[in-house]
Point group: C2
Chain length 333, copies 2
């Protein structure tokens, strides 16, 4: 049997109500009584029933993070960062994998049913932005991801157009002239946003846009990147550089190059997006756009906790995550 409030009361020689008052930090308790109760709690290794405490303060100190896919290293690393950022504030994060399914995303927007979760950090895929902005969620909610500017919720995202512009310009800067993009048709909207930055860079560099060089989607996994690279290598005039819209696809693309007896950056320079840890250990190591996941995590958690506490600003906030271009071997770094 777990230790109960009544066990603590018996050990301390006080009433259950008095133990409860000490745990809940009520005033008007003598130092002597408090000491007795705290000693009994320590001796019995008693854990206060936090649900009861939560009811009093109206909070559980649990928040949820709803992401499409746990096994994607980007979301796994982001989830770990958000979990750490919350823990520093005494909050436990529970992660829900929606797989981008409409029903699972609706469950999130509806507040995840229960009384246990104080609020939600949500990276939606399937649910339309219009629906999200108009949703009447049961819980405070912070949105992640570049598809959802505006609307009614606090929002944290990378400036993906600018970052994609920078990624493409890096390939220009190392002398590449036939630059492909992998992932244009996918990522639930990410593709079109990043393509915008890619096209902007081609234009700025005076390079012609070749529709044959815009490939990929809807999948954003390693095998999708490998398939897209094979498609590009089969062109009459293959590219000399590729901007992959995430690191996973870039790793798949690098593998397809190896399988074709080619190498990066000699034959084709490759840049990714996300800076997942695996890119750093790959051979060749992967040049990428490195969004500051710790910054994202800290700020998403802080925004949500402000909303939960009712101390947030009246207007919704829209925060832009800082990023850097990290040059490694796959583009000759």
């Amino acid at each position: 049997m777990a230790t109960r409030l009544s066990d603590v009361a018996a050990r301390a020689g006080v009433s259950v109500k008095t133990v409860s008052n000490v745990i809940n930090d009520y005033p008007h308790i003598t130092a002597r009584t408090r000491a007795k109760v705290e000693a009994a709690i320590a001796e019995l290794d008693y854990t206060p029933n936090v649900s009861a405490r939560s009811l009093r303060k109206g909070r559980s100190d649990f928040i949820a993070l709803a992401v499409p896919e746990m096994a994607s290293p980007y979301f796994a690393e982001l989830g770990a960062a958000i979990s750490r950022a919350a823990k520093k504030r005494g909050i436990t994060v529970l992660i829900d994998q929606t797989e981008g399914e409409a029903a699972a995303e609706k469950l999130v927007l509806d507040g995840m049913r229960g009384q246990l979760i104080d609020g939600i950090i949500f990276s939606p895929i399937t649910t339309a932005p219009a629906r999200i902005t108009s949703a009447d969620t049961a819980k405070p909610l912070v949105l992640l991801g570049e598809r959802h500017p505006g609307g009614t919720f606090d929002h944290v995202a990378v400036d993906s157009v600018q970052a994609s512009f920078d990624a493409t310009m890096h390939l220009v800067s190392i002398g590449r002239r036939r630059i492909a993009a992998i992932g244009v048709g996918g990522g639930a909207g990410t593709g079109s946003v990043r393509r915008k930055g890619y096209r902007k860079a081609l234009k700025a560099a005076g390079l012609a846009l070749d529709p044959a060089l815009e490939v990929g989607g809807p999948g954003y996994h390693r095998e999708d990147g490998a398939a897209s690279m094979r498609e590009l290598l089969a062109l009459p005039e293959p590219p000399d550089a590729v901007f992959c819209f995430n690191d996973l696809m870039a790793i798949g693309a690098l593998r397809a190059l190896t399988d074709a007896g080619l190498s990066a950056p000699k034959d084709v320079a490759v840049i990714g997006f996300d800076d997942i840890e695996d890119g750093r250990y790959h051979s060749p190591s992967l040049t990428t756009i490195s969004a500051d996941k710790e910054w994202l995590a800290e700020n998403a958690v802080a925004l949500l906790l402000d909303r939960i506490a009712g101390t947030g600003e009246a207007d919704r906030r829209d925060l832009t995550v800082p990023y850097t271009l990290t040059i490694r071997e796959s583009t000759g770094g």
Copy 2:
């Protein structure tokens, strides 16, 4: 405002109690009343308050998965598999990252505070097996991981000694004679279990045990594998093969080989453990022990749901996850 029971009642022209009876599928409701209420629910896009329903049936249809580390690809992939296995049964999985911290693991054993979680699948790191077996958990619980045979809980794990024996014997079978092990001092007990299999194989092959070839730990990340490989390469007589106790360390080890101007399998053959997706796309692709994560997920979820429903077997169950040796380029496959 979210649609409320009272809105549905008003639209249907019935009492709130009647709507509640329809939602909860109580008998003695006329077909006509049921149809009116269901039409109102559909028109208003009403989502029943499932917490109220859960109270009735005593369940929330949420379970928790508590793992040390989300950003570790093994746990991320396992979490995704468990989430999928649960979803097929109408259950949502919330994932809790304990970071192996004692306080976080205690929170798990204490039932995660609240009323929302029906049960827990737990991969402990810090909490001593003895404490776990004696813990009086508030919730049904299934344990994962090779450190925890016996005890009072259902348990699902790979036979790590046998798998490590097989991994090492594979290196013997390709003619290697100076076989190192990376990770012996870590992984919260995993190290000693896998070392047992490694040593057993050396003995079976008639190879002498060289303590200088048993390195690594406590960390089990890419950088730890890279550091251990550098240590091995600095030996007067470096190894011609390495068994890394997980794929992450193997990927780090491969990177250290590349940095030293060496390659696998020519100079040093490398085998990992876990079959994370990244190993398949690495150059060279990684030979590994491939535990059946889908099998593990299906069975862990089924065991837990049986306990929650009270339909489990009287005795605790101890399930062994099937695995295969997957031979790829890093050992010459």
